[in-house]
């Protein structure tokens, strides 16, 4: 019963949230820096009044710990600092310097001249903008991690001060280790996964986001050429209508298709899948397991197999046309008429083939859990089964599967496989031809991929498009997550 009433309850709350969203964002950002500043100030003050050991740890990691006979810990800290200094001196320092303070990503271009004594062309390698940017980002992350380790070291030393003044003995190394299996167990659990995340997601993302502010494209390819900062001009380019270089027209076309596709794909799979699930789970229908298995088989096989197979079946000379007797007449995946309408429809239909079974799987579980008393009551009142479906079951499903729908929608915006394996983004038509080699059924993500792999690569624009995709997904999720209760109340079930 509760789910019918909740939307009304939430209405006023959501409005206030919407109004104050930006002010809240600003407040939290401001609050973060204020708190950071307070923390640094507090730390400096306590160290100033702290013991000699703490002061030593403040100057060089681990010294204070060694003075207090915590040898293993102390030497580990000291080793970290030594390694960090070596890293900065021999590697990171110069890259950070160039990245942050020179204002350019390298100034020395590769030079090439004819050496008469050797009787051949000689290259003098210049600087590599890409490596400066990449290693600069890596070094900055290393610096950040070092600062965290250093703060931990000072804090640990302060905690020791407190323990000593309270007359308690200090932990030895084994006791410290035991702490990481108990009170601080979350550190042990999260350490390695988060390192993986930093190396394979965070650093690459920072690198790519920075590239959106450079002119890293096929005319500025390292190592032979340099690229440099260009500010926001790539973002301007995305909305520019300039003939030949402006991305606006193509971007809006592809954006529109991406959103239309994501909308139709998500909801067609959702509603048709729900109807099928209802049919399979209907009282009195036998062989439920067989029906379900028939549908699920299509998603059990990896997509590169099913979709490649489909692309061959739907080929102009493919088996479907042979069966229809229209060999070479219907181009299911490459007809450009009416804005490539046919390929678009075919993509959506094929997507149903590999999407509906997921909904069937998911809905089967939920449909069986619908409180039957409501349906019984409705039946007594003489409601038809269509009314029961639209008035009771559908709202219930929508309420329960709200988060699933959002994930599906965002997943479809990023649905690379289906487009790439079916049409490869094609067919190319006159509307899309030109900047960025976009084609008519390209989604933003396949276009992004093409921009980074084609002959005329444009990493900078690919990065801008990636940021655009992020903004779209973030907006969609923000609007809808606020409306669903499911993301909050995580402790409801404990």
């Amino acid at each position: 019963m509760d789910f019918v009433e909740t939307p009304q309850e939430e209405q006023p709350l959501e409005q206030t949230e919407k109004r104050s969203f930006f002010s809240r964002l600003w407040k939290s950002v401001k609050g973060f820096f204020l708190r950071l500043w307070e923390k640094i100030k507090g730390l400096a003050l306590t160290v100033w009044h702290g013991s000699l050991a703490t002061k030593m740890s403040f100057c060089f990691m681990g010294v204070g710990q060694i003075m207090r006979k915590q040898f293993v810990k102390g030497f580990l800290y000291a080793a970290v600092e030594v390694l960090f200094i070596l890293f900065m001196v021999f590697f990171g320092g110069s890259y950070v310097g160039k990245l942050l303070f020179s204002g350019h990503l390298g100034t020395q271009e590769e030079t090439r001249w004819y050496d008469e004594s050797l009787e051949q062309y000689v290259n003098k390698p210049g600087e590599n903008s890409m490596l400066i940017l990449l290693y600069g980002v890596v070094s900055l992350v290393v610096i950040l991690l070092f600062v965290l380790a250093w703060a931990m070291n000072v804090k640990g030393s302060l905690a020791n001060d407190k323990r000593l003044s309270d007359g308690k003995p200090l932990n030895n190394f084994l006791q410290d280790c035991a702490l990481y299996l108990n009170g601080k167990f979350y550190v042990t659990l999260l350490l390695v996964p988060l390192i993986g995340l930093v190396v394979f997601t965070v650093m690459p993302l920072i690198f790519m986001i920075l590239i959106a502010f450079t002119n890293y494209d096929y005319q500025h390819l390292p190592p032979s050429k340099l690229f440099d900062w260009v500010g926001f001009s790539n973002f301007g380019n995305l909305f520019s209508l300039a003939e030949g270089t402006g991305f606006a027209k193509v971007f809006l076309l592809i954006l529109a298709w991406t959103l239309i596709w994501a909308f139709i794909a998500t909801f067609s799979n959702y509603f048709l899948g729900m109807l099928l699930a209802k049919a399979i789970n209907r009282k009195g229908i036998k062989l439920k397991k067989l029906w379900r298995t028939l549908f699920v088989l299509a998603i059990a096989v990896p997509q590169f197999v099913t979709l490649l197979l489909m692309s061959k079946i739907l080929d102009g000379d493919g088996i479907l046309n042979v069966i229809l007797g229209k060999k070479g007449e219907i181009f299911w995946l490459s007809d450009t008429n009416l804005l490539s309408l046919l390929p678009r429809v075919v993509i959506i239909v094929v997507n149903m083939w590999i999407g509906i079974p997921y909904t069937i799987l998911m809905c089967s579980g939920i449909l069986m859990n619908i409180p039957t008393d409501m349906i019984e009551a409705a039946k007594l009142e003489g409601a038809s089964s269509w009314q029961i479906f639209t008035q009771i079951e559908l709202p219930y499903m929508l309420h329960v599967t709200g988060p699933y729908l959002i994930t599906q929608f965002v997943g479809n915006i990023n649905n690379f496989n289906i487009i790439w394996l079916l049409t490869g983004g094609g067919p190319g038509d006159n509307l899309h031809y030109g900047v960025g080699n976009s084609q008519s059924t390209d989604l933003l993500v396949t276009w992004l991929y093409r921009l980074t792999t084609d002959t005329n690569v444009q990493y900078n624009m690919a990065s801008v498009i990636g940021i655009a995709v992020f903004v779209i997904c973030a907006v969609v999720s923000l609007i809808t997550y606020n409306k669903t209760k499911a993301t909050k109340n995580e402790e409801d079930y404990q």
């Binding site: 590169f304 990636g466 992020f470």
Partner: protein, 299 residues
């Protein structure tokens, strides 16, 4: 007995409804049968093509050529003339290793974020939510450069690291599961003097078999289907390092003639991969439903 008698007095109504139900049932059976056949037809075609050995008939041009022969020729060709056995072994190795890492990373992250309370918990979850909204391909090029700087490109280790490196981001479903385990279990254990490690290893994990199995199998399946990262990381010139996805993809896409020449062989390979993965998926679909309904879906 009384109830049955009572119903019979409304004979007419009951009769009308019964026929209506029967007609509806028949229609539903018809629809399920038609759709069910449509749904598996492409897969049947795949298997059929895999067993076609008739040479030079223009494989996709005729459905049933006059000189049709069925047999295991394509499978034989697959195992003798291509590197398919090596690809299979490569994929298995990579999938097994990345599955182990991914499972540990995902479960550890989910457990820490679900069952433990610490200062950075909420900010961490927000950051991970934001990271998850960037398209994965965006960072692919940078990942490639980082691997290159580490001297790891064109190696299976690189693939394993790429598949499992970001695993922490996929913690939602497992966290949803851990969220549903009653807190009282933990509190009782703490009273008995159990450490957090003991609680995790001895109490919560044994209760979480469904989600553990789900995580293991889905992360094992992942590498079998990926052909994007493999294409970027493994050189086209070293087929002995391919995974099945890349190997089969290149079998029919490497050049224009490759398709007609190799389509039946591709179908044989795809059939093998399909059977392996489908049987795994069938085992896990029960857990998939549990995972999705407990993780992202709540009432």
């Amino acid at each position: 007995m009384e109830r049955v008698k009572k119903k019979r007095t409304f004979k007419e109504v009951l009769f009308g409804q019964r026929t209506r139900t029967a007609v509806a049932d028949a229609l539903i059976y018809l629809m399920l049968a038609v759709l069910g056949v449509l749904w598996v037809l492409p897969l049947v075609y795949l298997l059929y093509t895999a067993f076609r050995v008739t040479p030079n008939t223009g494989i996709i041009n005729t459905l049933i050529p006059p000189d049709l022969q069925l047999g295991f020729g394509n499978f034989k060709k697959l195992f003798t003339e291509t590197d398919f056995p090596i690809w299979l072994w490569n994929t298995f190795k990579i999938a097994a290793c990345s599955c182990a890492l991914t499972t540990i990373f995902t479960l550890a992250t989910a457990y820490a974020l679900s069952r433990m309370r610490f200062k950075m918990r909420k900010p961490l979850m927000n950051v991970m939510l934001i990271l998850g909204m960037f398209p994965g391909f965006m960072s692919m090029i940078a990942v490639y450069f980082i691997l290159k700087a580490m001297g790891l490109t064109n190696s299976h280790l690189a693939l394993i690291l790429v598949y499992s490196g970001g695993a922490a981001l996929g913690y939602y479903i497992s966290k949803g599961f851990f969220d549903t385990i009653p807190r009282s279990l933990e509190e009782a254990a703490i009273l008995d003097g159990a450490s957090q490690w003991t609680i995790f290893w001895r109490i919560i994990l044994p209760l979480s078999k469904p989600i553990v199995v789900y995580t293991i199998i889905t992360s094992f399946i992942g590498p079998w289907g990926d052909f994007i990262f493999v294409r970027v990381i493994i050189n086209n010139t070293s087929p002995e390092k391919f995974t099945v996805a890349l190997g089969l993809y290149r079998l029919i896409n490497s050049d224009r003639g490759a398709f007609n020449l190799n389509f039946t062989v591709f179908c044989a390979g795809a059939g093998i991969v399909g059977v392996i993965i489908a049987s795994l998926f069938m085992c896990v679909q029960k857990y998939y439903v549990q995972g999705v309904t407990s993780g992202s879906v709540k009432q």
